[in-house]
């Protein structure tokens, strides 16, 4: 095994070590802990770019298997690096970098243990993306959720405690459903390895098929609660809008972990090669996605505050992804991945931006005041706050960033959100033969949800930038606006050079829809039926 093989596990090990160090060093040595945290996220960004380059190395796509303890895949847990997991790890690292840098201005002092929690959060998310084992996925889900409970409550305050209570109960219940689903699948198939499941599910005896499908459905509900599909997503806007901005930014990829799990497992277990179970649940995903878009759009129109608007926007993006995945076409899945890569940074940037915009106003100020009261760090912080210079251009930069976020999230030209929606819709409408009713409804849902988002964002934007009294120009420091601009620059880069990214996404979608290469890397002599052969 050469050293580069160990890179697969590095996205889990680096934040783990950084988190442990941060705990050991304690709250007092803040500068050192901060430096460690920054070093960790920077290393993760560099590493994940390298991983994407490795995974997208050749046309067929590279799948790397990392056997923990070097046991054969059937006996122990494997980590698997392929295009999708590399892409998701890259997204996570970028968000991690942006959120951590943003938090350095003030938020990391708003409560205890921010840095360890943040690192463990990254570790859990990366682990969930990289693991090739169903139960290990559960463990990483729990690591991720446990850290997110802490982060969602970071800064304390009544609103956060209230929202956090619901968040934790809902997610604990979903975790129990996850366990039930996993054990049902294990009871029938006798394996927890995802690749092995892909081999065994088509061969399950007819009388056990209902059990496997029930298990998968229960498992799916656990993921869909995480992805906030209607009617299981009522917890999301409240929690995300109450969370502190850096936490909310990193939480915005948390709901995409559910989407990732659906995408990975559904296509692996119930793809075209799955025999009698092929396509199981696809209609539910599609319909659920459409309902989520509808609910999210109504929520977008109905919200009064920016933070809740951002929460509702997360719902719309989840719904769009679910509906696009549920359509079950290779090209549409590619478009959905592009949409994910453009929407996630934009929504995270929006969460960060909200706090900056609202800083000059009463609403945002009293949340901070509450946290200061609770933790008693008022005096020294006020002194430092004056460092931020109220440059006249601040309002302009904030406004331009806001417009950027709005364009990407609503999917208007010229930014990447528009290209993403186009990439989802083009394959749907250009298919040979007539356009099905489902396709029309997805088309309508995407366009109308974009319209709703534009209306809501325009209203909020006018409120914040034009109608507000100009007396208080928000004081913004460069480490706060920098991450927002970085994330938006990512979206702009997607707009300028969409071709290589889209090619990567298409190759990823092809690999997802025909997981033979994935399975064969892990089990070289496995025989997976080719798509369509079973029917």
């Amino acid at each position: 095994m050469s050293w580069s093989d160990h890179l697969t596990i590095a996205p889990i090990v680096i934040p783990l070590l950084a988190g442990i160090l941060a705990i050991l060093l304690g709250e007092r040595r803040r500068a050192l802990v901060t430096a460690i945290g920054l070093a960790s996220v920077l290393a993760l960004v560099v590493l994940s770019i390298g991983l994407v380059r490795i995974a997208g190395g050749d046309e067929a796509g590279v799948v790397r298997v990392y056997r923990l303890g070097n046991w054969p895949a059937l006996f122990a847990i494997v980590l698997v690096l392929d295009r999708l997991s590399a892409l998701m790890v890259l997204l996570t690292s970028l968000l991690g970098l942006a959120a951590l840098v943003f938090s350095l201005a003030r938020w990391h002092r708003a409560g205890a243990h921010f840095h360890p929690l943040f690192q463990f959060q990254l570790m859990g998310i990366n682990g969930a993306f990289l693991t090739g084992d169903l139960f290990n996925l559960f463990v990483f889900f729990e690591v991720m959720l446990a850290a997110s409970y802490g982060l969602a409550l970071h800064g304390s305050g009544t609103a956060r405690i209230r929202a956090g209570l619901h968040y934790i109960v809902v997610n604990l219940t979903a975790s129990l459903l996850f366990l039930i689903g996993v054990s049902m699948i294990y009871g029938v198939s006798g394996t927890l390895n995802m690749a092995d499941l892909a081999v065994r599910v088509p061969a399950v005896a007819a009388e056990d098929r209902a059990l496997v499908e029930t298990g998968a459905a229960i498992l799916g509900i656990a993921f869909l609660v995480k992805a906030a599909m209607w009617p299981m997503g009522f917890w999301l806007p409240a929690t995300y809008s109450a969370a502190s901005p850096p936490a909310a930014a990193i939480l915005s990829i948390l709901s995409k972990v559910g989407i990732y799990a659906i995408l990975r497992l559904w296509l692996m277990l119930f793809g075209d090669g799955a025999g009698a179970s092929a396509g199981f649940g696809g209609t539910w995903l599609f319909a659920g996605g459409l309902l989520t878009i509808a609910f999210g759009s109504i929520a977008v129109l109905a919200t009064q505050t920016m933070a809740r608007l951002a929460g509702a926007v997360v719902l719309v993006s989840s719904g769009t992804l679910l509906a696009a995945i549920g359509a079950g076409q290779v090209a549409v899945t590619g478009g959905a991945l592009f949409y994910m890569a453009s929407a996630v940074p934009a929504i995270a940037a929006f969460f960060l931006l909200i706090e900056l915009v609202e800083r000059g106003r009463e609403a945002g100020a009293d949340v901070l005041a509450v946290t200061r009261e609770a933790f008693g760090t008022g005096e020294d912080e006020d002194a430092e706050e004056e460092v931020g210079v109220a440059i006249p251009a601040t309002a302009a930069i904030l406004g331009i960033s806001f417009i950027g976020c709005a364009l990407v999230i609503a999917g208007l030209p010229p930014l990447s959100g528009f290209l993403a929606k186009l990439a989802i819709l083009m394959p749907l409408v250009s298919g040979a033969g007539g356009i099905a009713v489902g396709t029309w409804s997805l088309l309508a849902a995407l366009v109308l949800s974009g319209l709703a988002t534009v209306i809501a964002m325009t209203r909020v934007g006018i409120d914040a930038f034009w109608a507000a009294p100009a007396a208080s120009i928000p004081r913004v420091r460069i480490v706060e606006i920098g991450p927002v601009l970085l994330l938006l620059a990512g979206c702009a880069a997607l707009t300028v050079r969409p071709a290589p990214v889209m090619a990567y996404m298409d190759a990823t979608a092809r690999a997802l829809h025909s997981p033979q290469a994935y399975v064969r890397t892990i089990f070289p002599d496995a025989r997976l039926p080719t798509p369509g052969a079973a029917r």
Partner: protein, 114 residues
């Protein structure tokens, strides 16, 4: 034995779900605990319920589940117990924080209007 275990799981799940839907945080936490017991028993039973079967193979035996009890569900249960224990402890802390900050033990943080 299957009947007894499944009835036990059913009763635990039923009581757990009932308590989970109650408005007081303490009822919710007990409900979650009961549910996690039910799930642990359920995982345990997916390996097949057997009495007196050794958890490991004898030397020289061929490896089929006919000879030994499946050890994997037991390992899964162990992991699940640890995790649910930790999350319950975390939830307990939050429950106390909510009680202290809001002055009520209602899950919404305020008493419903009558």
């Amino acid at each position: 034995m299957e009947a007894i275990v499944s009835i036990a799981i059913g009763i635990l799940t039923g009581s757990g779900v009932w308590l989970l839907l109650r408005p007081r945080t303490f009822q919710v936490i007990i409900g979650l605990s009961l549910l996690s017991y039910a799930v642990n028993l359920f995982i345990f039973s997916t390996g097949g319920l057997r009495i007196g079967a050794p958890p490991i193979l004898q030397r020289g035996e061929a490896g089929t589940l006919a000879q030994y009890a499946d050890p994997l569900p037991q390992a899964l249960v162990l992991t699940a117990i640890v995790i649910s224990f930790a999350t319950t402890a975390l939830f307990l802390v939050l429950l106390l924080a909510a009680r202290g900050l809001t002055g009520t033990d209602h899950v919404d943080g305020r008493e419903p209007e009558r």
